[in-house]
């Protein structure tokens, strides 16, 4: 096998000559992973700390904002989406979009029900 150096091959793109759906393989370096790892641990500490303070309505908002931030950096760096093709980015986006459709459209019923306890 003549593949000594990983991912150096430049094949012609089979689907289309200039296929925007294909991104070159990018190797994320350990230093970057370590930064992300550190940030995640820090955020965990932060969210636990924030929960012990009384922020009123902002408690769940802060908790969810931190969770979203953590989720986003895991997706971008651990899951390499930052270096992926637009197709993968859109796929991830479509997933969360449909997830939000499920939640918001269902809640539109629950929020506006007369018997609701909201």
């Amino acid at each position: 096998m003549a593949h000594d150096i990983p991912h150096e091959q430049h094949f012609h793109d089979p689907a289309n000559v200039t296929n925007p759906e294909h991104a070159e393989h990018h190797i994320v370096l350990p230093l970057e992973y370590s930064f992300v790892f550190g940030t995640l641990l820090l955020c965990t500490a932060l969210t636990v700390f924030a929960a012990t303070r009384d922020l009123g309505v902002f408690n769940p908002i802060v908790a969810l904002a931190i969770a979203c931030f953590k989720g986003v950096i895991v997706i971008l760096f651990f899951m390499h989406v930052k270096y992926q093709s637009n197709l993968i980015k859109m796929t991830v986006g479509a997933g969360f979009f449909t997830f939000l459709v499920l939640i918001t459209m269902t809640l539109s019923d629950y929020i506006s029900r007369a018997w609701g306890l909201w």
Binding site: M1, H3, Y110
Partner: protein
Amino acid sequence: MSDSTAIAHGTAEAHHEHPPYQRHHFETIAQQNDATNFAMWLFLLTEIMFFGGLFTAYLIYRNWYYPAFVQGSHQLQIGWGTANTAVLITSSFTMAMGVWSAEMRKKGALVLCLVLTFTLGLVFLGIKTIEYSEKIEKHHVPGFHYSVQSFVDPASDPEVYNEYHDKPLALDMARHTELYFFLYFAMTGMHALHMIIGIAILGFMIFRARAGAYTTGHVTFVENFGLYWHFVDIVWIFLFPLLYLINRHPLAH
């Protein structure tokens, strides 16, 4: 066929110009990697929607029965939850490092990373078992002799009471803690099930990695498994605040 993967292996015909792990119906190895990677992402979409149903139920009932959810969450030990979050994040980090090791063709490092991830996964499940057994002792498993004692009479549960000084819930609200615990068990249970599946695959991968399967340039399987593992991590990142941190400031409500 030593380079086959679980997702993509089949009647690999002898193509002289292609690496042996390339399936016959792909033109190039880049196309094959792209396709399996994309397929993995689509599979993760279905996972998002699968958990989506549970999150919807959670949101509705949390807003209907907020006091029950608050006091239900007080039954969870924040220490264990935080520890587990840290464990899982670390395992995600080791998994990411595993992917890097495979890409750099470092067999020893890859095996080490996979073993670490495997162990951390087991630690997570161990802690979860401790937490579950506590719920079983207190009769907080919905459907199985569920008891509302800790909620209509918080003082009977001194450990939690001394920390949060919860007021007793009215019986009707106390009964709704069962919904909280159901969602707790359903969401963490579904998550744990994904962990167990992941750990099983990890075991298989360690075995294969020792044979050098992933360090000859074909890393798609490790990468795709990494995506799965990180996804499970993300689910937990959301479960932790939603289930453990609903309202943790004593004497505030």
